[in-house]
């Protein structure tokens, strides 16, 4: 099998898939981290009810496979008058699930903050919101970088599930090429290498970020 010939023919198809995978992963990761921060805020500021609600939410999403929300949102939303595109529905499902994980990661980091800082924040007159934004969040995010990196890698790999709802990302490309050419091994091996590449880039980004903030402090 000549991979150069394979690439010459199907390269554009893979690149298109790579673009969708990268775009979805990027968008969903940003969304998941924001949503995770929001969940942490609800947990901290929402009193006992807020913490319970967040616990229930985390339990719900941590204990179900992500394919479920993907299907439910993609096929269910048109029934309630929201025919969003497949990539948005799939991305939302990834945000909802990974947000639950991110909020747990952030909660772990939150516990590492010294309580004295909250007294200090109050003593200089910071409001609770300002304390969250200026004291808690920056530290929590920095402590969480390695774990968040892991979560983003998991999310990136989960984007392959969007092939089930007609998103033409990398895995869907491999499926289409398998049907088109019958060369299942070649189609999926190339995709495997491309995923490896994307994950490696992600890891480098997070490692660099981690090192940068470690030095700046």
């Amino acid at each position: 099998m000549r991979y150069s010939a394979w690439f010459a023919t199907y390269g554009p198809s893979y690149l298109d898939g790579l673009g969708w995978t990268a775009l979805t992963a990027l968008g969903a990761s940003a969304g998941a981290i924001l949503w995770g921060c929001a969940l942490l805020l609800i947990r901290l500021a929402g009193g006992r009810g807020g913490a319970r609600a967040v616990d229930a939410y985390v339990q719900l999403f941590r204990n179900t496979p992500v394919l479920l929300p993907i299907y439910l949102i993609y096929f269910g939303f048109p029934l309630i008058g929201l025919p969003w595109p497949a990539v948005v529905c799939g991305g939302l499902a990834l945000v909802l699930q990974n947000g639950a994980y991110v909020s747990e990661i952030l909660r772990g980091s939150f516990k590492a903050i010294d309580r004295v800082q909250f007294d200090a924040a109050r003593s200089i007159g910071l409001s609770p919101w300002k304390t969250f934004r200026k004291v808690v969040l920056p530290q929590v995010l920095v402590y969480s970088i390695p774990a968040l990196g892991n979560q983003v890698v998991l999310l990136l790999k989960d984007t392959s599930l969007l092939s089930a709802i007609s998103v033409t990302e990398l895995t869907m490309r491999a499926k289409l090429l398998t049907e088109q050419t019958g060369a299942a091994y070649e189609a999926f091996l190339v995709v495997a290498v491309l995923y490896l590449l994307l994950v490696s880039v992600t890891e480098v980004i997070f490692r660099t970020a981690h090192r940068a903030v470690r030095w700046s402090r």
Partner: protein
């Protein structure tokens, strides 16, 4: 340190990939002998292509194609139950056969000359046709209606579907799924206005709710053959299967074939001999 870790990742990756490649083909004995020795057929199929192969309310894999395979098991082992089914999505059929994971495959699988370059087919065991199922709400009454930019069609992920879409309704938007049930779900949820699939499958889906769906009277292909597929190059195995299919359609097993046909399609199969009056 990090470079070392990276190197080992790459090495592990390459090794894992190499393990996936098909082993060099050794001189193997015929699958027929392997099957007889094993005492069980391993069959790859889809589980979401009613009425050919699907899961019923009790969770059992049933269907026309499944019953055909049971007849094969009856002939091979005198026991229709000696079948292990491997369930895959549409594109998963070919590697399952190429890798030798299964002895043969069924499940609403159409014979196309370009497909026959990679898997071997027996002669057809049913002529099914390809139809369009539409949601009644869409108001689509014909292929000409469907050919508008405002409509969306749900395809299965094979190139033949894409080609027919270009030929019959080039203006229509297309969504691609990996199972017939996902296609149907797309129409049901309003994601798509129509889907193309084997006529009996379209009829089966439409029968789920006659108020919501209908099948367009026009066919996308005048005739189309569904057959058993297997790994090419094993003459003895292919010959046995092909003979069995020939006997089913127009030979000594025609009564059993008719019975299965009646069960799933509510009518008799087309007569195979001019002197058979129906």
């Amino acid at each position: 340190m990090r470079r070392k870790a990276l190197t080992s990742t790459v090495v592990a990756g390459v090794m894992a990939l190499a393990a996936l490649l098909p082993a060099a083909a050794a001189q193997e004995k015929s699958r027929l002998d392997v099957v007889l020795e094993r005492g069980e057929l391993i069959v790859v199929t889809m589980s979401t292509a009613p009425p050919f192969a699907f899961t019923d309310d009790k969770g059992q894999l049933v269907g026309f194609d499944i019953d055909i395979v049971r007849l094969l098991a009856q002939a091979l082992f005198k026991d229709p139950g000696k079948v292990e089914f491997v369930i895959v999505t549409a594109e998963g059929r070919w590697p399952a056969i190429e890798s030798g994971r299964a002895d043969l495959g069924v499940g609403g699988t159409t014979v196309y000359p370009d497909r026959a370059l990679r898997v071997a087919f027996t002669r057809a065991f049913i002529d099914s046709g390809i139809s369009i199922l539409v949601s009644k709400k869409s108001g689509i009454k014909s292929l000409e209606d469907l050919n508008q930019e405002k409509y969306t069609v749900a395809n299965l992920n094979n190139p033949q579907m894409a080609e027919r879409a270009k030929r019959f309704f080039p203006k229509t938007k297309v969504l691609t799924f990996d199972t017939p049930s996902a296609q149907f779900l797309a129409v049901r949820s309003g994601r798509a206005h129509a889907l193309q699939i084997d006529t009996p499958t379209a009829d089966y889906f439409a029968a789920q709710s006659k108020d919501e769906f209908e099948v367009l009277p026009q066919l996308l292909t005048a005739s189309q053959n569904n057959a058993i597929y297997l790994k090419p190059g094993d003459f003895k195995w292919w010959q046995w299967l092909d003979t069995a299919v020939a006997e089913l359609r127009s030979g000594s097993w025609y009564p059993q074939y008719s019975e299965v046909y009646q069960k799933w399609f509510g009518k008799n199969p087309p007569p195979q001999k001019f002197y058979l009056q129906r």
